[in-house]
């Protein structure tokens, strides 16, 4: 290997390592993380929304062809929401606009994400996995008020 090759291979490795450190900081320091493995909750049929703390709520959503089975969600700004998601039929997506909540709803399993809404407004939820003929019409919404 010539010198320029050694330099460039080393640099490439260093850049990639630096990126990895950045991601790790983002995950541990800023709490931007991917969903993990949920084993304590079984797939559910019923949707619900209830308060679990001062400014904290828990939401259960069942994605179905071609709507989200979920209660109307209207929360004050600054609320933190724990979302549990499953599917009642096929695979669906669940992406809350302008947030880092981006989940797959998979039949047979439950997934989880936590999100904090600091700005008031409407947050559309989009199904982004093909789930059959009505897929393009599958949306939901979360309302955050002052």
């Amino acid at each position: 290997m010539v010198r320029s090759e050694r330099v460039i291979f080393g640099l490439s490795g260093a850049v990639m390592a630096l990126f990895l450190v950045g991601l790790l900081v983002l995950a541990t320091g800023f709490g931007v993380d991917v969903p993990g493995c949920v084993t304590e909750m079984k797939p559910f049929e019923q949707d619900t929304l209830f308060q679990t703390g001062d400014r904290r709520w828990e939401l259960h959503v069942v994605a179905r062809m071609w709507a989200y089975q979920m209660p109307a969600v209207e929360l004050p700004a600054g609320s933190e929401l724990d979302i549990y998601l499953t599917s009642g039929d096929v695979v669906h997506g669940f992406h809350i606009d302008r947030t880092n909540v981006n989940l797959m709803a998979v039949p047979g399993a439950v997934t989880y994400a936590r999100v904090r809404f600091s700005e008031p407004g409407e947050y559309p939820i989009v199904c982004h996995e093909y789930c059959g003929i009505g897929h393009q019409q599958m949306v939901g919404v979360i309302r955050i008020v002052q």
């Binding site: 290997m1 993380d33 797939p43 989880y112 003929i133 019409q137």
Partner: protein
């Protein structure tokens, strides 16, 4: 090397049949951008086709005084404005472009490269067996898709169910490609005996790396198809474990992209430097790259499942780190190819820091193949960077399943891969048919036109994706449907992005049309010489022997260990978090297929008899 007729026809068949299907596939792409932007709500050409076929059938039946063919009624009952037509077309687009075209090309290219570089004749009996199995598989899957019984997209995620022929066809296509590659092993053995101590030619090593990766990866999807999906779609099993099926699919899904990419890398390393007028900067770097792909392209599949339930975050992180490792060989390639091009530019008289860049045969009609490679490499700069974003664990949350993703992979599989495959298909078909490539100016224009189109297209798709515009979605009937204004569904903010993508998509389609004219024009042109097969062969500038890189077996063994280590915890998590199996659904109905049939049966029996 003597080219038998059977050998020439084998490779020609493996190139021409998928090229004809690619015409349909890219036409589907055009429809998608128009449907997504809300410009069309039905496919006019398809309507014309159905109407014409229906009219002809009817006329024939009348002529012979026969009863009307049931097909006539079936054709006229197709609802072209139904939303399912979008997903019908998208399934064809994904399968024909990204699976059929690429798999056939890789086998055909190997059938040309391996005999050429090893100077050993190909066993055409086995070659044809492989081609026929692949063709039959494509035909069966094609019947299922075209007839609308497999509109499940090219990832066929259960529990959306396709016709059994779809799964069977996919399995046969894969098995056929295995047979094709297995055919090269005895040739290699013979070459090894006759040339003891010699390095295996880099091109052949690259093709073996390609198919080793392909073989290991497809084992998993073969298990998914044969043990989970096929019995289930035949009704032999009631339900399917969806998280398990997804994990098995994505074990295959990432190495799939290296299966696409590696034949292009073989061309970049072993042919491009020669055509550019120079040498390969480093032979050892090429070998190192192929070995690294064998090691790292498989134990990374969970990076497609960052958003999925049922896999622990620590394992997703592990797969991220390994994915970063598989980015290294591509960075090394970027350096080596750039260095080779610089050498070529200087040989051609380029001076100074940048002068060599202007001395490459970008627009040469004699060396027209160069344009296909260089345009692809330029596109790949953006494809590679966006790929690193996708692979980046939590960053993926910003782009997962948005239109950013198709924006990204049209810069990879529909960038360097597509252009390298198109260029090489034209090159091989012309040589093996004894033809001159017609309209070289047009042939050289194709890759640059595509470059412009795909950059515009991906810019629109990716920007839209960052604003949440979803992929795999008929936006024209949903978020961009003016009838839905005032509902939460309507998203005027996405319209500009869908329109930018449409403009790019139209240019891409124009580039492909030009290519098809050149390709089929050349194919049907007059024969001007004997059929032959000749590759541009690049010498190496630095050619140090690195013994460790000459044998693949130890690396394959290491790869298997890595795969076991990285996938055991993933599968363990998937199995313990999957609580129940899912029954089959058809894309058109929101009740399980069983229940649907039940309802239909009851409906029939309760109908009043008159």
């Amino acid at each position: 090397m003597e080219l038998t007729r059977s050998y020439r026809n084998l490779i020609r068949t493996e190139l021409i049949v998928p090229m004809v299907l690619l015409v349909i596939g890219v036409y589907g792409g055009l429809m998608q951008v128009l449907f997504r932007a809300g410009v069309l709500d039905y496919d006019p050409l398809l309507k014309l086709l159905l109407d014409t076929v229906g009219a002809v059938l009817l006329a024939v039946d009348r002529l012979f005084g026969r009863e009307t063919d049931p097909l006539v009624a079936a054709l006229s009952s197709v609802d072209l404005r139904s939303s399912i037509m979008y997903y019908w077309g998208l399934t064809l687009h994904g399968v024909l472009n990204a699976i059929v075209f690429t798999t056939f090309f890789a086998v055909a290219f190997g059938n040309a490269v391996v005999p050429y570089f090893l100077k050993q004749p190909l066993n055409t009996r086995i070659g044809w067996l492989s081609a026929i199995v692949m063709l039959v598989g494509t035909g069966l899957a094609g019947i299922a898709m075209f007839s609308g019984q497999a509109s499940v997209l090219y990832t066929f995620y259960p529990p959306l169910k396709a016709h059994p022929l779809f799964y069977l066809g996919a399995a046969l296509l894969i098995v056929g490609s295995w047979i094709g590659a297995a055919n090269w092993i005895p040739m290699y053995r013979r070459w090894r005996r006759e040339n003891p101590g010699q390095k295996i030619p880099l091109a052949v090593m690259g093709m073996f790396a390609t198919f080793i990766i392909w073989f290991i990866a497809t084992l998993s999807v073969a298990v998914e198809v044969l043990f989970l999906l096929l019995p289930w779609s035949l009704g032999w099993t009631e339900a399917v474990d969806v998280p398990l099926a997804r994990a098995l699919f994505w074990f295959f899904g990432h190495p799939l992209v290296y299966f696409w990419l590696l034949p292009a890398y073989v061309m970049y390393y072993t042919m491009l430097p020669k055509v550019a007028g120079g040498k390969l900067f480093s032979d050892a770097a090429g070998r190192l790259v192929f070995v690294m792909f064998i090691l790292f392209s498989i134990p990374v599949g969970a990076h497609h499942q960052f958003a999925d339930p049922g896999i622990g975050t620590q394992w997703k992180w592990l797969h991220t780190v390994l994915t970063y490792a598989v980015a290294l060989p591509s960075l090394i390639t970027a350096f080596t190819i750039a260095a080779s091009l610089e050498y070529a530019g200087r040989q051609n008289g380029g001076r100074g820091l940048f002068g060599w860049m202007f001395r490459l045969p970008y627009f040469s009609r004699e060396r027209w193949l160069f344009s296909y490679w260089i345009a692809g490499l330029l596109i790949f700069i953006f494809g590679g960077i966006s790929g690193i974003v996708n692979a980046s664990y939590n960053l993926n949350m910003a782009v997962h399943n948005t239109s950013w993703i198709p924006g990204h992979f049209h810069l990879t599989v529909a960038g360097p891969v597509l252009l390298a495959f198109l260029g090489m298909s034209l090159y091989l078909v012309a040589q093996l048919s004894g033809k001159e490539v017609l309209w070289r100016g047009a042939a050289v224009a194709v890759p640059y036109l595509w470059l412009v189109g795909v950059l515009i297209f991906s810019w629109g798709m990716m920007r839209g994706g960052l604003h949440g515009m979803p992929r795999r979605t008929y936006l024209g009937a949903g978020a961009l449907n003016p009838d839905l204004q005032g509902t939460p569904l309507y998203r005027a903010d996405w319209a500009p992005y869908a329109e930018i993508a449409m403009v790019g998509g139209i240019i891409m389609f124009a580039a492909m049309l030009l290519y098809f004219v050149v390709f089929f024009g050349t194919l049907f042109a007059r024969r001007v010489r004997e059929a032959h097969l000749e590759f541009p062969v690049a010498e190496a500038y630095h050619d140090e022997p690195v013994r460790a890189l000459n044998r693949l077996a130890p690396w394959v063994a290491t790869a298997v260990v890595l795969i076991v280590l990285s996938y055991t915890p993933v599968l363990y998590d998937v199995l313990r978090s999957s609580f129940q199996k899912a029954p089959a659904y058809l894309p058109e109905y929101n009740v399980p297929e069983k229940q649907l049939q039940e309802t239909i049966r009851q409906g029939q029996s309760s109908q009043p008899t008159e």
